[in-house]
């Protein structure tokens, strides 16, 4: 089952992992990814807060679609995506992805794939705030190259 959750408050990746491990249906392999807000931007500048604008409808729909695609494409038995929205402090988790599968490669691939798609296709708009104001963060060429790996 694929699940996607938008989360306006800080969440605990370890609690999500614990719940995920309990719910998995007897499968042996669980891969998780945690993305954390950093206190330095791409240019090395101080980031005091990361803000994640979201859309009242498109954001959750895009997350659900990506989770569903990840589950179907790699035949994993459980897939969970939890994504923060709003203001995120450095050190807090932005995103949690977990995939359970019988074979570990499928779980790795599903989590990897879901992250690549979230980067460019989940309906969020990200800003790093620092002492000198904010700047928008768009997907990088690396992010696009990562995504392109899956289009074959």
């Amino acid at each position: 089952m694929a699940r996607a959750q938008l989360c306006a408050e800080p969440f605990s990746p370890e609690a999500l992992l614990a719940g995920f491990l309990e719910s998995r249906a007897g499968d042996g392999a669980v891969v998780s990814f945690v993305g954390l807000a950093r206190d330095a931007g791409r240019d090395g500048g101080v980031v005091t807060v990361l803000s994640l604008d979201w859309h009242p409808v498109l954001t959750e729909r895009s997350m659900a679609q990506i989770a569903q695609d990840g589950e179907t494409r790699f035949g994993v038995s459980e897939l969970l995506v939890v994504h923060r929205c709003g203001e995120v402090a450095p050190g807090e988790a932005i995103v949690f992805v977990a995939a359970a599968a019988r074979h570990r490669r499928d779980a790795f691939l599903a989590a990897d794939y879901v992250m690549d798609r979230l980067k460019t296709e989940a309906a969020f708009w990200k800003r790093e705030h620092g002492p000198e104001g904010y700047r928008w963060i768009e997907p990088t060429d690396n992010d696009r190259a990562d995504l392109a790996r899956w289009s074959t």
Binding site: D53, H55, L58, K119, A122, F124, W125, K126
Partner: protein
């Protein structure tokens, strides 16, 4: 009639989170709405081009052109950036 257009991402730097636009009661093409918006804020032209600004009508992302009426929800936004 008044259409309240919403903006997410880069376009909101210029238009704010929403802006009211006077449009005919019968509606107008999305492309024409876009043109009116850019005409009112010439700085937005570059933003729309560089950051792949797209539109959604009633929560559906639109490629190509469609007719937009005042009762619809119309939004413009720059490229997504999640994860």
């Amino acid at each position: 009639m008044i259409l309240r257009v919403q903006f997410f991402g880069r376009p909101s730097d210029i238009f704010g989170s929403s802006r009211e636009v006077e449009i005919p009661a019968a509606g107008l093409p999305l492309s024409e709405l876009r043109r009116l918006l850019l005409q009112s804020e010439p700085d937005a032209v570059d933003i729309f081009e560089r950051y792949g600004v797209r539109a959604a009508v009633d929560n559906q992302i639109v490629s190509g052109d469609v007719l937009v009426t005042p009762v619809q929800a119309v939004e413009f936004f720059s490229m997504f950036s999640g994860g």
